[in-house]
C-alpha cells in the first residue's frame, strides 16, 4: 500500500474518532439510567482506543518476530487493570456503600 493511501486512512480514522466523540457527547445527554450511560460511554471510549491503537499506533501493521511480544505488552496492563478494579470494588467501594 502506498504512503499516500496510508495518509488517507489516517484522515478517515480521525474523522471517525471525531464522530465517535460527538456520539459520546450525544448519548450522555440521553437518560439511559446510570449503568446504561456509564456502560455506553466506556464502550465507545474502548472502541475509540482500539481504533487509535490499530491505526495510529500501527498495531494492525505490526510485523516481525516482536509482534507477539508487543501484543502481550498491550494486553497485559488491561488485564491488570481489570484485576485491580474487580478487587477494589468489593473492598473499598462496597465498604463505603455499606456505611452509607
Amino acid at each position: 500500500m502506498s504512503a499516500e493511501n496510508h495518509d488517507k486512512i489516517y484522515f478517515k480514522v480521525f474523522y471517525a474518532l471525531v464522530g465517535l466523540t460527538a456520539l459520546t457527547v450525544a448519548v450522555s445527554h440521553i437518560n439511559l439510567g446510570r449503568p446504561g450511560n456509564i456502560g455506553l460511554a466506556v464502550l465507545i471510549a474502548g472502541f475509540k482506543v482500539c481504533v487509535v491503537g490499530a491505526f495510529f499506533m500501527h498495531l494492525k501493521d505490526e510485523r516481525g518476530e516482536m509482534r507477539n511480544w508487543t501484543y502481550a505488552f498491550v494486553f497485559f496492563p488491561f488485564v491488570l487493570f481489570g484485576i485491580l478494579v474487580i478487587l477494589l470494588i468489593p473492598d473499598v467501594g462496597m465498604r463505603v456503600m455499606a456505611q452509607n
Binding site: G64, V74, F81, G93
Partner: protein, 205 residues
C-alpha cells in the same frame, strides 16, 4: 549524516547508503517503548481505579460531572485527536524521506498540544477563581489529580516533540533512521488514549 554513513560502511550493508538503525534495533527499541507504555497504562489505571471505587462509594451530588465545562473538554478532545493525526502523518512523511512535511506535521502536533494545555489552563483558572481547589471535595480531588497528571504527560510530550522538531530540521532523521520519532508518536498516542477515557468519565457522567 557522516556518522550514519560511516556506520553503514562499517556494517557493510550493500544497497543502503545511510543505514543508521537496523530493522532489529528498530523493533527492539519499539518493544521497549511498548513496555514503558504498559507501565504508563498501569499508572493511570491506579488513578482511574481509585476514581471508580470512590465514585461507587460517593454520593451523586458530589460526583457530578456537569459542574465541569464539557464543551471546553470536547474541544480539547478534538485538538488532541487532531494532534494524533498530525503525529501519524509526520511518521508517514519521514518514512518517505519527506523531511519538510514531517517538520510541518510535528510543528502542528506541538501547536495542537499547546492549544490543549492553554484550554486546560483556562479551565483550571476558572475553577480557582471560583475558589474550587483539589481540596473542595473528593470529586475535585480526582478531577485535578487525573487531569493534572495527564497535563504533565502532555507537557513532557511537547518538550520531546520540540527537541525532535529541531533535530528533524537539522536533517538527523530519514526513512532509515526514525525510531525516535516513531516511539515519541507511540507515547503521544497513549496520552491521547488516556484522554479518550478521562473525557467521558469526568465530564459527561
Amino acid at each position: 549524516m557522516s556518522d550514519a554513513s560511516a556506520h553503514a560502511a562499517h556494517a557493510g550493508e550493500p544497497g543502503h547508503a545511510v543505514h543508521a538503525v537496523s530493522e532489529f534495533e528498530h523493533a527492539q527499541s519499539k518493544l521497549g517503548m511498548w513496555l514503558f507504555l504498559a507501565s504508563e497504562v498501569m499508572f493511570f489505571s491506579g488513578l482511574i481505579g481509585a476514581y471508580i471505587v470512590l465514585r461507587m462509594g460517593g454520593t451523586k451530588e458530589v460526583f457530578d460531572g456537569s459542574v465541569l465545562n464539557w464543551k471546553l473538554a470536547a474541544v480539547n478532545t478534538v485538538a488532541l485527536l487532531a494532534s494524533s493525526l498530525t503525529m501519524a502523518l509526520a511518521i508517514s512523511a519521514i518514512r518517505r524521506d519527506d523531511i519538510h512535511r514531517a517538520a510541518i506535521n510535528i510543528f502542528l502536533t506541538i501547536s495542537l498540544g499547546g492549544v490543549f494545555l492553554i484550554i486546560k489552563a483556562i479551565e483550571y483558572s476558572t475553577k480557582f477563581l471560583h475558589h474550587i481547589t483539589p481540596g473542595t471535595n473528593v470529586f475535585y480531588s480526582c478531577y485535578f489529580t487525573m487531569t493534572g497528571f495527564h497535563g504533565i504527560h502532555v507537557l513532557a510530550g511537547l518538550i520531546v516533540l520540540g527537541v525532535l522538531l529541531v533535530r528533524i530540521l537539522q536533517g538527523r532523521y530519514s526513512s532509515k533512521n526514525y525510531t525516535v520519532i516513531e516511539n515519541t508518536g507511540l507515547y503521544w498516542h497513549l496520552v491521547d488514549v488516556v484522554w479518550i477515557f478521562l473525557f467521558p468519565i469526568l465530564y459527561l457522567l
